[in-house]
Amino acid sequence: MNTPLLQQVLDRTTPVDDSPASHLEVNFGLLDEYSKREIRRAILTAVAVPGYQVPFGSREMPVARGWGSGGLQISLAIVGPYDVVKVIDQGDDEGVNAVNLRRLIVSSTGIPESTTPEDSTLIQTRHRIPEDPLDERHTLVLQVPVPEPLRGVERDMRELARMHAEADYARMWVSLYEDKVRNGVITRTTGYPCLVNGRYVIATTPIPRWDVPRLHRSRFLALFGAGREKRIYAVPPHTDVEPLTFEDVPFEVEVTPGASCRTCSSTESFLVEIPGATAGDGGHWVCSDSDWCRRNRERLQHPSRGDRS
């Protein structure tokens, strides 16, 4: 009866010696190997059942719950010594949350970081999908504050579980119907509810509607982590992601006619507004994806240099 315990101690997975983090005091990726294994199992389930919210034993992380603890657990559970990490918040590599999380990932693993998707393999994000097209090399980890898309129509968790189990989404449709009746347009902003693989409705984290179409039949794997609510769900590559919309009411993304990025002049990226300091100053727009914006600007200034920065 004692052997399993001893065996567990002896079997405890340790990072391989040549890993960049072998000199660190903490375990590679901060979490102990059992925890990582457990989280990976949840991820595998999530990939196997696209859109299903897999409950998992979310660990307390060195960031507050609601600050990306779910995304961080996913990243740390799947990160390997040869990964290159990019972390963004609102599309910005320099956002405070992005900096904090990137520091934790890099310092606990020793892996290199990048701001360019081209060079990255693991991209953790809060509220955006990078403008660059992502592909098979990329795993996108999205931080999810509220994973339950149906919470607005139902509070009882037992009933919520039943609704998902039976694909009973009529009340979600009713809320969209009521929205359109009352307001003339569908007023959902970010985190638009989508049907994944024709089966489960998910909350697309609070990414803007602009980003939603890029989840549809994507080439990359998207993993959604909600640490506080202890859920992981996934959109595997080449999976249908359809925003819930009526056949005769087109899905609308955020577009402001005439707006362009003041820095790179782009009209084809997701723009955020910089309000003017005074009432008279009309303000301006900039790309939310700061790295894409920088490269776009360089591309315009030095067309000969090509795509890479």
């Binding site: 004692n2 457990e38 719950r65 918040d89 900096v99 504050p145 803007p208 602009w210 609510e229 507004e273």
Partner: protein
């Protein structure tokens, strides 16, 4: 650029960290020692261990210091530290009858079997703020301590081993009530594995062990609030219990030695334990008997243990009819609630831009119709 406060990257963050670090050692006071906190701010340290779910007074004191006295933040530090530790062994089931009491009161009887032992408490002392200057306060306290040392023989009793077992391990009231057949018997005959809330999310409908574990780790204020809002508030699911037993004491913790296979005592933990007596009055309940709710948490934290015991029996009787269980499981964790609240401080300009766009769309629709 806008959002300068939330942007600025690594440099700004590092500057913020330096400010915190500097104030920790600067200022005119001494370095705050862990030992001092364990002895003098005992209830704060106990609370952090309870909410952090980790018994280690020194780590808890360190956390409290690092968190500048914020118990929720300190509990967070303990818990996230714990996340990095592999789980190497499980203790044997703790037998609460092994509790050596430091304090024990039985409000349900004037003369219960065993003592009414008040122990270290200010429950019965006037809440009078000492407004003397610090030096006078200190002098007075030192005098009092010296007097006690010379004239009163209670110091040994606190250790709990200088007195006969029946005083320090008194028979519990519940056993007496059971002998009188005055309590419904809900004891299970099977022995299911307790639900491990650190490995699986506890969601309604949950087992009793999941609810108890959640409450044991809950933020004290949150749990007291759930209790109170269910007594006085809009929900009103709760029925006020009679306290059968409130205990604070030391409990030995034992593991099986991996090599010898023998049980080895590895530590004593201090816990607060409460048994709450519930008067059954539902149509489908046995009006002729009582039922019992149970609470147990790390350290000396009577507020939490009492709320826990009352909520335990309330949940049992509610049988999932209301949102009580969901409230307990989902809303009482300090890390969850405060983390989510504080995340509002993070940049939300992508969301806000999306919202602004919809506002414009709605207004345009309104203008067109």
């Amino acid at each position: 650029m806008g959002y300068a406060a939330a942007r600025g990257g690594l440099k700004a963050i590092e500057a913020a960290e330096r400010l915190v670090a500097r104030e920790r050692v600067l200022g005119e006071s001494q370095w705050l020692e862990s030992k001092q906190m364990i002895e003098k701010l005992r209830l704060a340290v106990d609370r952090v261990m309870g909410e952090g779910g980790l018994w280690d007074e020194h780590l808890a004191a360190s956390a409290l210091r690092q968190a500048e006295g914020d118990p929720i933040e300190a509990a967070h530090l303990l818990r996230s530290y714990r996340s990095t530790l592999p789980r190497l062994a499980y203790t044997t089931p703790v037998d609460v009858d092994d509790l050596t009491v430091l304090r024990r009161i039985v409000p349900a009887f004037r003369n219960p079997p065993g003592p009414q032992l008040l122990g270290r408490t200010t429950d019965y002392t006037g809440r009078l703020l000492d407004t003397d200057d610090e030096t006078s306060q200190r002098t007075a306290a030192e005098k009092m301590a010296a007097f006690i040392e010379e004239n009163v023989t209670i110091s040994k009793a606190i250790d709990g081993d200088a007195e006969p077992t029946d005083i320090r391990q008194p028979r519990r009231l519940l056993d007496l009530l059971r002998d009188l057949d005055a309590v419904v018997d809900r004891r299970r005959t099977d022995d299911p594995e307790p639900f491990d809330i650190t490995r699986h999310p506890a969601r309604p409908p949950a087992t009793r062990s999941a609810r108890l574990a959640t409450m044991a780790r809950a933020e004290t204020g949150a749990l007291v609030n759930v209790w109170y809002r269910n007594i006085l508030g809009p929900d009103g699911y709760l029925h006020e219990i009679t306290l059968g037993e409130v205990r604070h004491g030391r409990l030995p913790v034992t593991v099986i030695h991996p090599l010898t296979g023998d049980p080895v005592s590895i530590s004593d933990v201090r816990v607060t334990e409460v048994e709450a007596i519930e008067d059954l009055n539902g149509i489908d309940e046995d009006r002729g008997r009582f039922d019992v709710g149970y609470g147990l948490c790390f350290g000396h934290n009577e507020k939490k243990a009492i709320a826990m015991a009352n909520l335990d029996i309330a949940c049992e009787r509610d049988k999932g009819r209301s949102f009580l269980e969901q409230s307990i499981l989902l809303t009482t964790d300090g890390l969850d609630a405060s983390g989510f609240l504080e995340h509002l401080k993070l940049p939300h300009y992508v969301t806000f831009r999306s919202m602004m766009e919809r506002k414009a769309a709605i207004r345009q629709f309104q203008e067109n119709t």
